[in-house]
Amino acid sequence: MTTAVGRVGADGMAAAPARRVGKLHREGLAAYLFLSPALLFFCVFLILPFIFAIVLAFSDWGGFDLGTLKWAGFSNFGDVLSFDGTFVKPILVNTLLFAFGSVFLATFGSVLVAYCIDRLSFQGFWRVLYFLPVVATVVAIGNVWKMMYQPAGLINAVLNKLGVNSVGFLSDSSFALPSVTVVHAWASIGGAVLILTAGLKAIPEMYYEAAEVDGANSWHTFWSITLPLLRPALLFVLITQFIGGLQSFALIIVMTGDGGPVNATNVAAFEMYQRAFKFGAWGTASAMAMVLFVIILAITLLQLWIARRRGEETS
């Protein structure tokens, strides 16, 4: 749209307003025509289900037959947000811990890896190596780690060699969530590394040269040049990773089967799936989806606000 306005501006005041409007209208129409397949897809697979989910959140519906849908008002939200239930605690708490934990580990790890790769030979090889978990299916990743976490698995074998007793990584409720979080973070590093590497490549070399002339060491250079200039890429990674973390549940199904032990790894998305597809409680499941939507929206807006406050132009 800016280019269109720019071209109209070039015509100057001599162009007739009616002609200008007509041209704008035609260009707009053409743009919408090109956008229509994507918009249609977006409507059918995102907007409509979203509207349906809002309707369901205020209804009592057991699935199967739309004729049995009954208005329930806010009762689903009452059930979901009740402190007697399991959604607020432990499920929502687990979801946030899982998301924050995996974002922290994945972001910290990916910055470190991207920074190191940027200073190595055979950068393509290293990037491919770290990107492999992203290409692998969640089922494969989950099962491999599940085997490593077993009482007789690789990790416990190493611990036993070091004289430490076996740890029930997935069977002990104190360890289960951190164990799954680590795997999710590990699997997310590859994608983040790719984006951060692109961000690193975009930093002009002259800044580093100037820093070197000023006698800055590696740490100062990283802290004062790399990190601030990496902020747009970091922001993108943070937001996408966090949303992914809050919505993730496939890995948890693969590794723990039922969000166990004792709901220790049960997260909001998994609970929604269970409520809807297992128990036929579509209203409650949709109310949970709405609560999660609001939380994700709030956290994303907060992230954007913090980034803008620190001088980052994101629009």
Partner: protein, 426 residues
């Protein structure tokens, strides 16, 4: 104004998208031929082969009513039913787990069984089979698979621990579990004494309910209210909790993976497990595997849980009469040169209990494997798994409570109270 128009358009599109749900079942084929679809989880091995054979037989003799089998894995069955039914593409005949019965009934998925057929079913099927596929007073369809819970034990491991005969009371069971458990110097379990979990959904509930039944307790009342938060329930969960505290039972051990290699001394499991063990253990099955009733707290008491599957007709099927006609034939016709029904034989060949009383009696006369006897016997006294709306959710709440005791050492009384609070009768 524009926003309002967009919203209106979205609503219209939404209605169009969901209007598909107004259809259902399959249409008549050409020339008045009816094609019925049957959705089940009999997706491989002998279960698929046996059902396919019977369907082929029917299709040959009934050119005007053709049946087409559609299969998915059990884990995907409920989801597939939900999605297809909502999209107006539900199968004419549904094969489902009894536990889902209440949900399916509440959502108008299963049609009422015609009175004449219901009368015959009630007269000819075992109480455990009927109980597992009846919601309230409503029979959901023909009972098919029937499973009961028993105690599997490794004879060699028990003998090595100086235990000559299988346990007959909780005290003996706990004693055997403590004597047979083995750990290495690092604390890793090499042999688990008694496994109190199974694979799949709500893995701790069925063994617990079997013990609860042996103590004379109940899971849910007819109205869906919790019945387990009482003395019997507390005693059963305390028994399990004490074994976990003594490290004779451990939830990180998978019995279906480790029993065959001698990693589990005893396990409370369903009867279908026999077929798997025979295949996995080959010659060692006969020498090592023993099966007995799940003992109760006092001498002579025993308990079990029975769960079942059923085949019913979809409420939305356009060919309900033809579907019932086929189901009646499927469940009633006799196998060639045999006194049992072909469906009974098909189920028994898979190590399952035929749900029909006459078939059970016939098979009990000539059991080739003595381990089958306790499994068949359990069908006469087992608690039928409740299946009213909300039962599945109640079961999950109970599972979480049991796991807090087995894995975290929580007080059994508190755990049961919390589970009872989470049960919401519908």
């Amino acid at each position: 104004m524009r926003i309002a128009r967009c919203v209106r358009l979205a609503v219209v599109l939404g209605l169009l998208a969901t209007s598909a749900a107004c259809g259902g079942g399959s249409d008549s084929g050409s020339g008045g031929k009816v094609e019925l679809t049957l959705l089940s989880h009999y997706s491989d091995g002998p279960s698929k082969d046996g059902l396919d054979k019977m369907i082929a037989e029917w299709n040959k003799d009934n050119p005007k009513i053709q049946v087409k089998a559609q299969v998915v894995k059990f884990d995907d069955l409920l989801t597939t039913m939900t999605v297809r039914q909502t999209g107006g593409r539900g199968a004419d005949i549904v094969s489902a787990y009894g536990l889902w019965g209440g949900q399916l009934m509440k959502a108008n998925v299963v049609a009422k069984v015609p009175d004449d057929i219901a009368t015959k079913i009630k007269a000819e099927y075992s109480p455990a089979a009927l109980g597992a596929v009846t919601t309230g007073d409503t029979l959901l369809g023909y009972p098919t698979e029937l499973n009961t819970y028993v105690l599997f034990y490794n004879k060699s491991i028990l003998a090595a621990a100086g235990i000559a005969k299988p346990p007959t009371t909780w005290a003996e069971l706990a004693d055997a579990a403590k004597k047979t458990v083995k750990r290495d110097a690092k604390g890793n379990i090499q042999v688990e004494g008694l496994s109190l979990i199974q694979d799949g959904d709500n893995k701790s509930v069925h063994p617990f309910l079997s013990l609860l039944d042996s103590a004379g307790g109940k899971f849910l009342g007819p109205d869906g209210t919790p019945q387990f938060d009482n003395d019997q329930g507390k005693a059963a969960l305390k028994f399990e909790g004490d074994l976990a505290a003594a490290k004779a039972s451990n939830t990180s051990i998978s019995p279906t993976k480790q029993f065959r290699s001698g990693g589990v001394a005893m396990a409370i499991q369903a009867g279908w497990w026999i077929g798997s063990l025979k295949t996995q253990m080959k010659d060692k099955y006969a020498s090592d595997v023993g099966v007995t009733a799940i003992p109760g707290p006092t001498p002579g008491s025993k308990g079990s849980l029975a769960y079942g599957f059923f085949m019913g007709v979809n409420q939305r099927s356009k060919h309900a009469d033809e579907a019932w006609k086929f189901l009646t034939w499927l469940n009633e016709h006799k196998a060639e040169g045999s006194n049992v029904t072909e469906t009974g034989k098909w189920l028994a060949d898979q190590g399952l209990i035929p749900p029909r009383t006459a078939d059970q009696a016939e098979y009990k006369k000539t059991l080739s494997d003595p381990n089958l006897a306790p499994i068949y016997d359990a069908a006469t006294y087992a608690m039928a798994e409740p299946n009213q709306p909300g039962a599945y959710e109640a079961k999950t709440a109970l599972h979480n409570a049991i796991m807090t005791v087995l894995a975290d050492g929580k007080n059994p009384d508190d755990a049961l109270a919390q589970a009872a609070k989470a049960v919401k009768p519908q």
